[in-house]
Subunit: 557 residues, 2 copies
């Protein structure tokens, strides 16, 4: 096999790490994804940088922590000036293309301030988080009393559906994400009870196969070298799947929730607010779990089947020989575990994601089929991709580290001793309930292989989990006097990180080192009493100069 020429960067949305059979799911067989793992390295401790779509992705697409890029919640734009995967790859000579979802929100004010036209090449890339767009599909076209969440949501896909005969102003909702009853009433996928229904769409027209085909169309016509970010929407809500997947799983496949009454009763006030939110309450019920989880499993099974289609096509077209394949997710889904729904807290359920990397190059032969328990973060993908593209990782901009040393068997650990995840709930109702300002409604997670600590801004005690002895994270030791030293050590790690240099992005490490040596060589020489304090070369520009005496002259007009 040859060195990777192209990169197929597959992302799923809200795909929980433990809902793939290679990661241990007991009822859901995902043989195609498992096959990719057998051909590459399966990372067992990959953490995302924020348990929310947009922020997690902005970190993945910039290689920088949320605290560095600032897009700390959905709908908070990535500011103009942030440097993206696309910027780095194009500089290294590789195209960077999008097919699917990014959750990017454009910084329109910043673009206007800098006079960037959205329809210029540069403006379009800035608007799309650095990607050139083959198809942008964020997979959501909700509407409410204040208008549409995203007027461009599912735009091309809706056109496709209409052309296929799905007549509606919003076939994304009425067919792809809803069921139908015998009288023709749409059973909206927004209502969780309808997750038991089959989506009212032919399987091949549903979102996952549609995006697979769009990805193949892109790759078929693309000029190498390229990175294709084939970014699927599913198994993200609305939780509803067409047949045959709708009937594959039932309540008998739903695992008992990972939770305890004690965990709820003694919950830290911030965690408790998440538990008591409408989402937390809903997913704590059996009726919701029994309706949603089988649909969620069906969506994942459909994904795996589509991976089968995709990988076969890559084999058949010879692309498997020169294409790195990366498969991951932007965060997990609590599904009722820990009395929570959705993804917005820090248990492994949400912050740990599947990550499988297949590298076709011979250097990776030694690690095929292995599992790495190195502490990996989503921000490690950008530097990995830059190296595959033949570029040099700009360490003054990118905060992650390349995975190639692990992929090539040269290392077993990453150059870090902790991972970071962040969450900003300043724009959520629970901030109001907890009486938090927009500045103190932020949370930080710091974790190593032994401990996970969550710091809540605003005067709260921390949350602490013993990952070794309590891997299900049921017992919060944040107020345990016996763990004061552990907590202090975790705070030391957190603060080492908060103090980090993250904004000095305009001078490289090499340039700074060079300045150490050559500071005086452009003539700024300080602390010299006379010519003897520095060698001739440095002072020659200030010696042997002559001038007429002007200081005694009259004050000329």
């Amino acid at each position: 096999m040859a060195k990777a020429k192209n990169i197929l960067f597959l992302m799923f949305d809200q795909l929980r790490w433990d809902y793939l059979s290679c990661y241990g799911q007991p009822h859901l067989e995902t043989p195609n994804i498992d096959r990719l793992a057998a051909m590459g390295v399966r990372f067992d401790r990959c953490y995302i940088q924020s348990p929310i779509c947009g922020s997690s992705r902005m970190s993945t697409y910039t290689g920088r922590y949320v605290h560095s890029h600032g897009a700390s919640w959905n709908g908070i734009p990535l500011k103009v000036g942030e440097i993206t995967m696309g910027d780095h790859l194009r500089e290294a000579g590789m195209g960077c293309w999008l097919v699917g979802k990014t959750h990017m929100r454009v910084d329109a004010a910043g673009m206007a301030r800098l006079g960037l036209a959205p329809d210029s090449i540069i403006g379009a890339r800035v608007s799309e988080c650095g990607f050139d767009v083959f198809e942008r599909d964020d997979g959501m076209r909700p509407e409410g009393p204040n208008g549409m969440y995203d007027p461009d949501g599912a735009k091309v896909y809706n056109e496709y559906l209409r052309a296929r005969g799905y007549e509606s102003d919003n076939p994304w909702h009425d067919f792809a994400n809803s069921g139908v009853d015998d009288e023709g009433n749409v059973l909206s996928g927004w209502f969780l009870k309808n997750s038991t229904e089959a989506a009212n769409i032919l399987e091949r027209d549903s979102e996952t196969p549609y995006l697979t085909r769009r990805g193949m169309e892109f790759m078929d016509g693309a000029d190498a070298p390229w990175l294709c970010h084939l970014s699927y929407i599913k198994p993200h809500w609305p939780y509803i799947v067409p047949e045959p997947y709708a009937s594959m799983y039932g309540p008998q496949h739903v695992p008992p929730p990972i939770r305890s009454q004690e965990e709820f009763d003694s919950a830290h006030p911030v965690l408790r607010a998440f538990m008591e939110s409408p989402v937390g309450r809903a997913f704590s019920t059996d009726r919701v779990r029994n309706a949603v989880i089988p649909a969620y499993m069906g969506l994942i099974k459909q994904i795996d089947d589509q991976m089968g289609v995709l990988f076969q096509w890559l084999e058949d077209t010879g692309r498997m020989d020169d294409t790195m394949i990366v498969l991951t997710s932007d965060h997990g889904d609590f599904l009722g575990d820990h009395w929570l729904g959705e993804k917005t807290f820090f248990h492994d359920t949400s912050t740990r994601v599947p990550l499988i990397v297949y590298d076709p190059s011979p250097e990776a032969d030694a690690t095929r089929g292995t599992v790495s328990d190195a502490l990996v973060e989503s921000i490690d993908l950008v530097p990995t991709f830059i190296e595959v593209a033949g570029g040099q990782v700009p360490r003054h901009i990118v905060e992650g580290h390349s995975l190639l040393p692990i992929l090539h068997g040269q290392a077993t650990e990453m150059p870090r001793d902790f991972v970071i995840c962040e969450y900003d709930y300043s724009a959520q109702p629970m901030a109001e309930k907890l009486g938090r300002t927009v500045r103190d409604a932020v949370l930080f997670m710091v974790a190593d292989k032994d401990w996970k600590m969550v710091h809540a801004e605003g005067g709260f005690r921390p949350i602490l989990f013993d990952l070794k002895n309590d891997p299900q994270e049921l017992t919060d030791l944040g107020d345990s006097p016996d763990h004061a030293e552990v907590i202090a050590a975790m705070y030391e790690k957190l603060h080492r990180w908060t103090r980090r240099v993250s904004q000095r992005t305009t001078r490289s490490e090499e340039q700074l080192l060079n300045m150490r040596k050559n500071g005086r060589r452009t003539g700024v020489m300080l602390g010299l009493y006379d010519e003897n304090d520095a060698d001739l070369e440095l002072t020659m520009f200030y010696r042997d100069r002559t001038a007429p005496n002007r200081k005694a002259g009259p004050e000329a007009g």
Copy 2:
């Protein structure tokens, strides 16, 4: 007097807070600056954000900490995308003009990445730190074996000097910043022994009066409302001044250095490296102090005389009635105190600067001639100016706080309980000597009214000064076991600050609060089991929709 319509923002470079008579200098009378203090408020505890020209100024011009904007040393460009004083003021309808120095280094790579042409209006402003330029004069045109430090240095001024008959390829150096001996040899101001000489230039042609005139020329023709940043180069080195100022002060006016042998012998390793640098060693000698300090005093006396000229002109032209005047400095100068020269450490000598604000509005009458000991930072000027311009301070971008409540007698303290100053020595030779990487060659100062602590990245103990009992900062208590609690409390403040939200600049606080309430109103509704879980208005878009059944149809081709 009317409300301030315009703002004259005066900055001096390397002007030590205690070298003005209103701040207690015993030998140097500065009656004109003192008069401004009598008309306004003199701030006694104003701290800059970094003890180095460029970084201090980038904080002053953005209202943001160095850790937020990243331009952490001279020559590290302010990255494209950072929002400046000029951006804020123009949005509020006020022009923002430069006459003099900024030390801005353009982020040429960032501009190229975004396709910003340096000669476009927007590109020019981005290049000049947000200012429209009447005259840019960084006041330095040094040259060495590797070329010129700044090819545009003193460009207009050099043309002016040549037109005035100062013939040289670099009259800035040969006349304005050098003496001359009887044989016509240039005695370069770069060599400190020559600080005893008179600059070989008519006083009226030297830099300070030149910039005063240029400032008046700008104001004379400017369209109100304007902010004029009249930014003087002096008393910054080269330390040399023309007559009559050259003869005004002598060694008899040089105060003994503030230092002790114990301070040197027990110095923290990082501080010791600064003491042992060529600059520290030079300024620790009497020959350097006796040569330099009289010249430094002469430069300040010249400044004060020029302030007399300027303030008289403002009176005569009626501008004193509608112009806010702000006078400050970008940092101080050690001048041999604490075995240090230059400005690059954290004693008050360098990090505390004069700040005098004269507000012509009647609201400020109650505070004229008063002294404030509130904890003020340079980043407070941007929000002050925005409020004077009639704008609203964008708290999600600007990190400082307006001084108007103090100026108008509504408050005596600022809304903060500590100040921050930072220094990045990664590009300096002492980083090499101390074996520091470019990431751990950074320092943070946190100070309140009682204590000042310096944290050095890279595993060092902190430095601690007791400002109440040791105002001269001679005794470092950083390794005192008796002060462990104080140190912990100062670290708590530092880390509260390092965890702050500083990059979420694309959504205002108001927008975030609004999102709390209206999250569901664009149709993303989570955790609803059925229609009964939310009111009709929210769910109406998903009810009463009909569709033909498509799920049972054949898989069409």
